[in-house]
Symmetry: C2
Subunit: 344 residues, 2 copies
DNA sequence: TAAATTATTGCATTCGAATGCAAAAATGAT
DNA sequence: ATCATTTTTGCATTCGAATGCAATAATTTA
């Protein structure tokens, strides 16, 4: 027989008052017992904790948020299921935040226009901060910061405006990648761009072109996809059409690189890396599948997540803290999707 | 020059009182204007909305939750980055919940022991409900339900205890899959199981064996992985070792099927489907990559998510509602990873 | 042992919106 | 125009925990 259950559905949540009554102390005492660092005697703590356990009491985070003006909620904005990259980031971030005693409010954003709704929600739930790994206009960013909600941009930043951001510098990795391609004898290199509005991809391709230019090389052709696996097909066809002698493709992300490899091998019947070397950027887990073994520049997702979480926490503590951009170096990851030019 | 900003950092959030004052009405009126279906005159609504816009007022969801006893938060428990399946589910669920004006509190759970902490958090944040696509013991389930937090189990259920759950019945799909394999002439079929504690995989393999048995066939060998791509390697080696004449492998999920294909093709040098047919379960996006074109039984993730969201909402409205198990049929998805037995 | 100091505890208020109830206003019926 | 009805509005209270301040208890010091 259950006890303490007067009627079905009536046993409502125990409050700090219930605990206080049972322990014979004041409500404030209960509150203090659950706040680390408060002044409470051992005797009091024992009494209260005992009563709390008996009533299965846990402080109500909602009520706490209201008075303390800290929700311990972080909104995480993630875009696009089209990319395996985001889930990896998302799960890493979530773990890190949970370790820091913060909860993740997840928002998926497909188009820039979705963001405004999400912003309202963030405001309504009084999120302590935002991690944006998705579209976010300068105006939107400003709106949040005006409202004292710190924003950390994950893998993006504004040129014209200071912001907290975590960024991956792929220059070193890309340099190694390219030098290796050159060493392999590649001269006809094509670029597979990401979508026009994709900052990460654009930057990667800009750097890639710079490095190539420094080596006296211009891409033989530049094509464009939208980061998805599927979009690589047409892009690759275009490359082959416009520059049949291309021997290497550098894609703006791994997903397209994988799509390119598959298009080349399985549709066009070419050998990778024999007939064509393909490299990407990201360091996606799937890139390690033995069907791809992608040569790529890996983003240190774990460290980037740590950086993002730490920056956010710091700014939550001190909202006047000045903006900071943390740039972590991407690392070259050797795969077998690139190799020597086939001299046959 | 910014106006209305007395001092840096001092412009705090507008409350319903601020709006009320500006509009020259009572706070309750403001509250009513933001609650759909309340009795408010047109004139009042206009005045209030005008003032609200001017102050950029949005109701504070935290305060609302406190009094209304509805947080509009749903905790989603997801396990394992090891599987691409979960992100797909997660994003679908999130979209559906947002459409229903509920927010998703994301929790990642790797081990069963993590769950207890998460349960505390769910309780503290007064989540209206839980979707569990991860480990959840009967005791934990009961704890939540005792506390009147409805739980929807995604892709799992309890044999001995009623629960709200969404399940995918793969029997039809699996039947087609198997009959096709038999038609292709396969007689030596191996099973690649998921981990022992994986309910979904177990059920799939049980059904598969049943169907095979009905056709007078026993698996030539049964091996086991842990759902991951990597785990398939050893499992496949074991299969080949113990039953060299195996011509088809049915894996408990797509990820392992993909791992198996790669092991066979890229490590062992066999042809798929020429030397070995491989099939899986899930209908993973990556299974459609042209390197795999997996034959599989697809889970209708969209409809399953809808079902989960609807069930949850119904139970939030009426907590006395009886438990329900919604079973959606998985569908056979023809790929090229299976084919006729090679008679050479 | 008394006084001074420090550590605990309780009181009362606060956070911001929702809501039952009663007062006021608007509408309809006669 | 008068009274009955219905619709709007405001008042006052509530949700549950945190916290400044004052009161009390425990400890230290002289």
């Amino acid at each position: 027989m259950e006890q303490n259950v007067p009627k079905s559905g009536s046993k409502s949540r125990a409050t700090s008052y219930d605990v206080a009554r049972l322990a014979g102390v004041s409500q404030s005492a209960v509150s203090r017992c659950f706040k680390p660092g408060s002044s409470v005697s051992k005797k009091m703590r024992n009494k209260v904790m005992e009563a709390a356990k008996q009533l299965k009491y846990q402080p109500n985070a909602i009520a706490r948020s209201l008075i303390s003006r800290r929700s311990n909620l972080v909104a995480v904005l993630v875009s696009a299921r089209l990319n395996f990259y985001y889930p990896e980031v998302l799960f890493t971030l979530t773990d890190r935040f949970n370790e820091q005693n913060m909860r993740v409010l997840l928002f998926t954003v497909e188009q820039e226009s979705d963001v405004d709704d999400v912003l309202d929600q963030i405001w309504q739930y009084a999120a302590d901060g935002v991690i944006s790994a998705s579209h976010l206009s300068l105006a939107q960013h400003k709106l949040l910061e005006e409202r004292h909600i710190p924003v950390i941009m994950f893998n993006r930043y504004f040129d014209e405006h200071a912001s907290n951001s975590v960024w991956c510098d792929t220059r070193d990795g890309a340099t190694i990648l390219i030098d290796q391609l050159l060493m392999f004898g590649h001269k006809n290199i094509a670029l597979l761009h990401g979508p026009e509005d994709g900052m990460v991809g654009r930057e990667r391709m800009v750097i890639t072109k710079e490095i190539l230019k420094n080596r006296g090389i211009d891409p033989v052709v530049e094509s464009r996809g939208d980061y998805t696996y599927e979009s690589a097909s047409k892009a690759v066809q275009e490359i082959i059409e416009k520059a049949p002698h291309t021997t290497a493709i550098i894609a703006a992300n791994d997903m397209m690189a994988m799509g390119a490899i598959d298009e080349l091998r399985n549709v066009m019947g070419r050998k990778v890396p024999g007939d064509m070397s393909v490299a990407g950027f990201d360091g996606l887990g799937a890139g390690r599948f033995s069907s791809y073994e992608l040569t790529t520049v890996r983003q240190p997702i774990g460290r980037m997540s740590d950086a993002a979480v730490n920056m956010l926490l710091k700014r939550v503590e001190d909202s006047e803290l000045s903006m900071e951009k943390r740039v972590l170096a991407g690392t070259f990851l050797q795969g077998t999707s690139t190799g020597p030019v086939n001299l046959s």
